[in-house]
């Protein structure tokens, strides 16, 4: 038997891994139980062909996280840079817009469709970024449910949107967009990202408007060492602080004695040994609600067994091409390109349809990631990721569905580039079922890790402090898993408070401070 202060079950990027790194650095003796060789399985990078790098999750929002500064991740090999181009959106009618980190350039793009909309968008983002650190803190870097912080976030967002709180809480995403923008194109282009896979249902009153506005705060950056370098830096920060990372180890049971959570039994991969690990202060489960409930036993926290994430899923196709996809010149420079609806009415209809199990939903909003724009590599091969969703396909028929979906997508891409078939060197499709097979925490949830939230808004998520003393959650909580490490940060705050180790001289960075530091440096230069 081995004893620690804190036992972290599952080293996911968003939850378990940063939580462990924070708590170990704060002085607790922490062990991570990780089933994989590496932690952060859904944020690793890989090569399908020499010099052609892909990421499991192609977007990097880590620049928003206080962890970069708090955990000194740059000293552990983590490099991050702003991309020259953020993303592009284009429809089937030849309309497109490119979004840049430089707001003036983005506004110039939108002004092609409506100068008034461009002004509105620029002014809105100006107000939003002025509020961003406090708003990020209240909305995401707070261990919700927290009524006061939520109220504060709503108030700040209402100010940004220049509407009353009461009106904001009555407004859906489309209603907000129709009130802000006159141009059909602008409405669609600024909806492409939040519609696909972010953290709210755009058609819900209040939730929809907030989810759309908050998605504008998700500023992407590029990690030249591959997105996995974030995982590696967190692992190394943890190990450098003398944390224990138990790789290739599977959790059997979560132990409850005398009504308190006291540890877990585990088995190292490839053996039949059952080892008991005890935790003096806390057990953090990053395993998702259903699996945590199963390992805990239904008597301990009955709500877990009935808890079910909303049903949004993604399908992913990776292609190795002999040349880049033939896209319009300005769009081709973007690392991510969204193929969107041809009209605003189509967009709104699609949002409604995405709540059904219609296969058509999948082909309404398509995200292309041009990895060669992120990682220049082999000169003769080019990595392209195609992601599409959503739809509540919670079933086991994905093996049969995968082939026809891939064919359909080839047809869509072929319409963009008639030589597509001749330039595909390799193709692999990963279905939601494949992701579910990979990640017990993502069972019937979002493939990028953790449970997803569509119809479950902030106050409906599970609490970081569970009803079982000394058991904490870093998954199925708010916010959902993304690469900004918010869930792990929040659970670390909660556990550190309970252990009396929260006050640390290094634990003070604000959300978005990496971007703020770069902006300040650029201004002084």
């Amino acid at each position: 038997m081995t004893e620690y202060d804190v036992l972290v079950l599952g080293g996911g990027l968003s939850g378990g891994l940063p939580a462990a790194a924070y708590l170990q650095k704060a002085g607790a003796r922490v062990a991570i139980v990780e089933q994989g060789v590496d932690a952060g399985r859904f944020y690793l990078s890989y090569e399908l062909y020499p010099g052609v790098r892909f990421d499991h999750s192609p977007v990097n929002f880590s620049g928003l996280s206080p962890a970069i500064g708090d955990l000194d991740l740059e000293s552990h090999g983590y490099a991050l840079a702003p991309p020259p181009v953020t993303l592009a959106a284009m429809d089937g009618r030849g309309n497109s817009a490119v979004f840049y980190p430089d707001m003036a350039r983005t506004c110039a793009e939108l002004a092609r469709y409506s100068p008034a909309d461009a002004d509105t968008f620029g002014a809105l983002l100006g107000r939003l970024f002025a509020q961003a650190p406090a708003l990020l803190k209240a909305a995401f870097y707070t261990p919700h449910p927290d009524a006061a912080a939520y109220s504060e976030a709503v108030q700040m967002t209402a100010e940004v949107l220049q509407m009353t709180e009461a009106d904001l809480l009555r407004t859906t995403g489309p209603e907000l967009l129709e009130s802000l923008f006159e141009s059909d194109e602008v409405r669609r282009f600024v909806t492409a990202l939040p519609a696909l896979n972010l953290f709210g249902d755009l058609l819900q009153p209040g939730q929809g408007a907030l989810a759309w506005a908050w998605s504008l705060m998700l500023r992407a950056a590029v990690a030249p060492g591959g997105n996995q370098s974030l995982v590696k830096a967190l692992e190394r920060s943890f190990v450098a602080s003398e944390g224990t990372l138990l790789r290739n180890t599977v959790v059997h049971d979560i132990l409850v004695e005398g009504g308190r959570c006291v540890g877990a039994t585990v088995t190292p991969f490839g053996t039949t040994d059952v080892v008991t690990l005890r935790a003096r202060g806390a057990v953090i489960s990053n395993l998702g609600a259903p699996l945590t409930g199963r390992l805990l036993g239904s008597h301990a926290w009955p709500a877990l067994s009935g808890w079910k994430s909303d049903n949004r899923v993604l399908t992913v196709q990776d292609l190795v091409l002999r040349r880049p996809l033939d896209l319009p010149e300005d769009v081709a420079a973007a690392p991510r390109v969204y193929l969107v609806w041809d009209s605003w009415d189509e967009c709104v209809n699609w949002l409604a349809q995405s709540r059904t199990d219609s296969a058509e939903t999948y082909f309404g909003d398509i995200e292309l990631t041009q990895f060669h724009r992120i990682y220049p590599g082999a000169p003769n091969r080019f990595g392209l990721r195609v992601r599409y969703g959503t739809g509540p396909y919670i079933d086991d028929a994905w093996d049969a569905r995968k082939g026809p979906f891939a064919e359909r997508m080839r047809g869509i891409l072929g319409a963009l580039d008639p030589e597509l078939d001749a330039i595909v060197e390799y193709e692999h499709t990963a279905s939601p079922l494949d992701f579910w097979r990979s990640n017990p925490a993502a069972t019937h949830g979002n493939p990028i890790g953790g449970d997803f939230v569509g119809g479950q808004w902030i106050e409906d998520r599970l609490p970081y402090r569970s009803p079982v003393p000394q058991l904490y959650l870093s998954n199925a909580v708010w916010p959902p898993a993304l690469s900004w490490l918010a869930a792990g940060y929040n659970v670390a705050c909660v556990v550190a408070e309970d252990l009396g180790i929260r006050e640390q001289p290094w634990w003070h960075h604000q959300p978005g401070s990496w971007f703020a530091a770069r902006a300040a440096a650029a201004e002084s230069a």
Binding site: V37, H428, R437
Partner: protein, 313 residues
């Protein structure tokens, strides 16, 4: 007080990483820079956005590499037709080629000759190469020490990196521009086909099972055909991945790696026809395949670097 500048080590392969770990543990400040995506060279384990784990390099490793990482010791290593090779082998006397070595060592039994020749191929040794005799002597001597790593070979470099970091060193991966390896010389190279399937996959009783030949002469004839650019039916091994797939969460799925020689003149080679032939040879229904990825010899070399052998320690 003076502070020594850290020792910079630029690696490509596992030996440099091991050396860096030793230096770090002995108190030398170390910065290890890996030009490739991930440190560990041929000991990397990869999932490729799938539910499976694949060892990219050798399937069997010498136990001295594993160190404290838990290992599995398979009883049956290699199967050729009805013949089996366990962990015992008689000492051999080296001659130029594998066949000459077997002759010089008075290995007359055709079953033993076939399975030792197959072992050479499995270990990345071309049985006709002039240095192959020394290779199989070493391979046979090491049989008792060839092991599997339970969570995948990647556990080994991961442990070494943890040692470096725990000793205060730094490991930086993936930040260098991509550099191609020199082209592969010679007429044969080893390809690797990574396959993930629903259900049980090929039925195996040995860790590595040979396909496409049944004895020493048919193996050598097959290699000769390959040298002339004629692929025919695939020749190679199914490497069981059961020790990597046995988690309670993955359900009824399994994976395996096909390792086999193909002509390195890739232009004359149909990637997809070869995959179809391999799947047919090992009895896997294509409809059950969740994932397939074939690296031709040049690609295998580009990603893994070095010679395709477990012996490069």
């Amino acid at each position: 007080m003076s502070v020594d500048a850290p020792l910079e080590i630029v690696g490509r392969g596992h030996q440099g990483l091991r050396r860096a770990a030793d230096l770090a543990k002995s108190g030398t400040p170390v910065v290890y820079r890996e030009p490739g995506l991930r440190a560990g060279g041929r000991l990397i384990t990869e999932s490729f956005l799938t539910p499976f784990r694949f060892n990219l390099g050798p399937a069997l490793v010498h136990r001295r590499l594993a160190g404290a990482v838990p290992v599995i010791e398979p009883d049956l290593l290699v199967a050729v037709a009805a013949w089996r090779l366990g962990r015992d082998a008689r000492p051999l006397s080296a001659a130029e080629t594998v066949a000459a070595t077997l002759d010089a060592s008075e290995v007359d039994d055709p079953e033993t000759r076939a399975v030792l020749t197959a072992l050479a191929l499995l270990l990345g040794i071309d049985p006709d190469a002039p240095w192959s005799g020394a290779g199989i002597v070493q391979g046979a001597a090491d049989l008792a020490d060839l092991v599997l790593v339970g969570g995948g070979n990647g556990s080994i470099p991961a442990a070494w990196i943890d040692e470096i970091v725990a000793a205060g060193g730094t490991v930086i991966e993936g930040l260098s521009p991509w550099q191609p390896e020199p082209p592969l010389e010679g007429s044969l190279g080893t390809c690797r086909l990574f396959v993930g399937v629903r259900g049980a996959g090929p039925s195996l009783d040995a860790f590595a099972t040979a396909y496409g030949f049944s004895d020493e002469s048919s193996l050598l004839e097959g290699l000769s055909e390959l040298r002339h650019g004629r692929v025919g039916s695939p020749l190679g091994f199914v490497l069981s991945n059961a020790h990597l797939d046995s988690t309670p969460t993955t359900g009824a799925i399994t994976s395996f790696v096909w390792q086999g020689p193909v002509p390195s003149r890739d232009g004359a080679f149909s990637r997809y026809a070869y995959i179809e032939d391999v799947l047919a040879a090992v009895g896997v229904d294509e409809r059950d395949v969740i994932f397939r990825l074939l690296w031709l010899p040049a690609e295998t070399r580009e990603i893994l670097g070095g010679t395709p052998s477990y012996l490069d320690s």
